[in-house]
Subunit: 348 residues, 2 copies
Amino acid sequence: MNKKKYQAKSGRRITAEVIAAQVGVSAMTVSRALNDRPNVDAKTKVRVLRAAKKLGYSPNHIARSLALRRTQTLGVVVPEISHSFFPEVIRGIEDAAYSAGYHLILTHSAEDASREQDAISTLESKRVDGLLISTAQTVKDNSKYRAVIRLGTPVVFFDRVVHNIGASCVSIDDEDCCIRLTEHLIGHGYKSIAHLSGPSTVSIGRGRLKGYKKALARNGMNFRPELVVQSGFHERGGYAAMESLLQLPVRLRPDAVVAVNDPAAFGAMKAIQEHKLRIPQDIAIVGMTDDVRAELVSSPLTTIRQPAYEIGKTAAETLISEIEGRSKPGQRITVRAELAVRKSCGCL
Amino acid sequence: MNKKKYQAKSGRRITAEVIAAQVGVSAMTVSRALNDRPNVDAKTKVRVLRAAKKLGYSPNHIARSLALRRTQTLGVVVPEISHSFFPEVIRGIEDAAYSAGYHLILTHSAEDASREQDAISTLESKRVDGLLISTAQTVKDNSKYRAVIRLGTPVVFFDRVVHNIGASCVSIDDEDCCIRLTEHLIGHGYKSIAHLSGPSTVSIGRGRLKGYKKALARNGMNFRPELVVQSGFHERGGYAAMESLLQLPVRLRPDAVVAVNDPAAFGAMKAIQEHKLRIPQDIAIVGMTDDVRAELVSSPLTTIRQPAYEIGKTAAETLISEIEGRSKPGQRITVRAELAVRKSCGCL
DNA sequence: TTGTACGCGTTATCAA
DNA sequence: TTGATAACGCGTACAA
C-alpha cells in the first residue's frame, strides 16, 4: 500500500511526486519539465505543466535550496529603516535583486553592534547567497565581518563601509563631498567653520571629518578642535551639539556649520533658532543627504544630494555579480553626488 | 574509507555530523545539545557546544526548515517602500518579528497587481509561515489572496485591507477618521468641501470617500459629485486633481479640500499656490498620514496622525499569534488615530 | 542518555 | 528522453 506516497498528504502542499503520479512519469521528469531543462519530451512537458497548474503546485524553494546549496536570496543589514535615506537605498536594492531573480531578507540592527551580529548570524544560518551591510554605529571591531567573508560569503558594504577586509564597498566619496561643502562655505567668506561630526566608528563619520579638516588646511585656515563636536546622525544629537557650540563666548562662535548629515543639521537649526539667531545671517549651515525635508525647512538646507537609490542598486548589482562569479570582491565603487545649493549657506 | 564523511567537505560549512565526529557522539546528540533538549548529558552538552563554537558552526536553517516544515519567517508585501509611512510600518513589523524569533522577507509590488502576485507566489515557494500584505492599487480581484488563505497560510492585511475573506485586518478606521476631518472643516464654517480621493480599488480609498460623504450627509450638506476627484496617493496625482478643481468657475470652487493622504495634499497645495491662492484663507486643506513633511510645509498641514509603527507591530503580532495557533483568523483590528490640527485648516 | 533509520522535497548523476 | 538512487543537513520516532 504505498499508494499513499503519491497522494498529497493531508494538510500538505502538492509535491513533484504527486504531479509525477498524475502524469505517469517520475519526479525527476517533473523537475526537468518545471525547470525548462532541454532533455524533456515536448509533449511530456506540456502534460506536466498542465497538471502542475491544475493542482496549484508551488515549488518548494526550501528543498530546492537545500539540494542546490544556494538560496537565490540576499541578506540586507541596515542600521535603521525609518528615515528617508535607507528606504530609498532598499528600493534600489530590491529593484536590482528582483531583476536578477533574487529575493531579500531584511534585518535592521537599530544601530546596535550585538543586534547586528545576531542579524548576520541569522542570515548566515539562512544561507543567503550574499550580504549587503551598512554598519551600525556601535560596531567596534570587524571580526564578525571578517569571519563571514573568510567562510566564503560575498559581502558588499554600502554607505557606511569597511575597506580592506576583502569586501566591496559602494558609497559616495565622503571626504571629497565634505571638502566641497566646506570649501563652498570658505568661498563665501565664512571664517570660523564648525563641524558636527558623526561617530568615528563608521566610515562616513571619519571620512567627512577628514574632508572638513583637509578643506581648512588647503585654504590656510586654522583647525580649532573646539569647533568639532560629535552629534551623531540624528536630530537630537545635532541639537545637543549645536547647543554646546552656542555656549562658546560670542567672539569664538562659528559663523558657519558643516553638519555630518541632514538630520543633524535640522537639530542644529532648531538650536540656532531657539537662540534667536538667524540662518544664514548669524550662522550658516550645510548638511549632507538631501533628506525630503531639506527644501522645506524654514531656511532651506544646502546639502549634498546623496543618490540613495543608486547606491542601493549598485551595491546589489555588485554583490550579485560577485555571487555569480562575474567580478571579484574588494572593489571600491564611488557614486557621484551633487551639491544642492539652497539658502542655509547664505550664498543665494 | 568513509572517514571523509566526517570531515568538512572542502568549501562547505561545518555540519552537525562534523561536530559529532569531533566529540565522538552521533549527529543526533549534537542536534539535541544545540537545541537545548532535556535529554542530553550535561558534560556531553558542554563538549558539543564547545566544539560547535570552536568550529564556527552555523546551523543550517534551510535543512531545519525542510525537516520541520516551518521557516520562522514572515513574508511582507508592501506597495512601495520609499515614502515615510511604509518604512515606519516595516520597523514595527521588524520589531515584533524580532522579539518573537521570526525573520522577514520583504517584497514590494510597486503598486502593480501582477508583480504583487509574483511576490506572493515567491513567498509561498519560500514557505513563509505567514503573510503580511498591504494591497497594490491595481489589484482587481481577490482570487490570489483567497487561494493562499485556502491552502492554509495565515494572512494579515494592514493599512490597505481586504475584509471577509478569512484574513485578519489591521488598520485605522478610515471612514471614521475621514468623518472627523470633514466635520472639523464643517465645524469651522466651510461650505463647499471637495475630496481628492484614492483609487476605489483599495480599502482606504473607499473608506475615506465614504466617510467624506457621511459627514456631509450628517450635517445636511449637499454632495456634489464634481467636487470628488481621483488623485491617487501621490503628489503628482494630488496636483493634477487640484488643478482640475481649480478649473471650475470661481463661484463653484471649493473653499476646503479633504485629501486622501498627505502626499496628495502636498501636490494639491502646490497647485493652489501656483494659482496665487492662499492656504487656508482662500482654500483650506487637510490630509491624512502625518508625513514627516506635514509640519514643515509653508502652511503646516492639518492631518490624521496614522500610527504607522503601531499598525506594523500589531499586524505582525496578530499574524504570529495566528501562526502559533493562539488566535483565530478573520479579526478586524482598529488602531486609534489622532487628529493633528495645524494651520492649513484655518482654525488656528 | 544515546544511536539508528527514515523523512522533509528537491536536484545531480549515472545508467537504461 | 527517462528513471533509480543518492545526496543536501537536520529532526522525529523509536529502539537500545
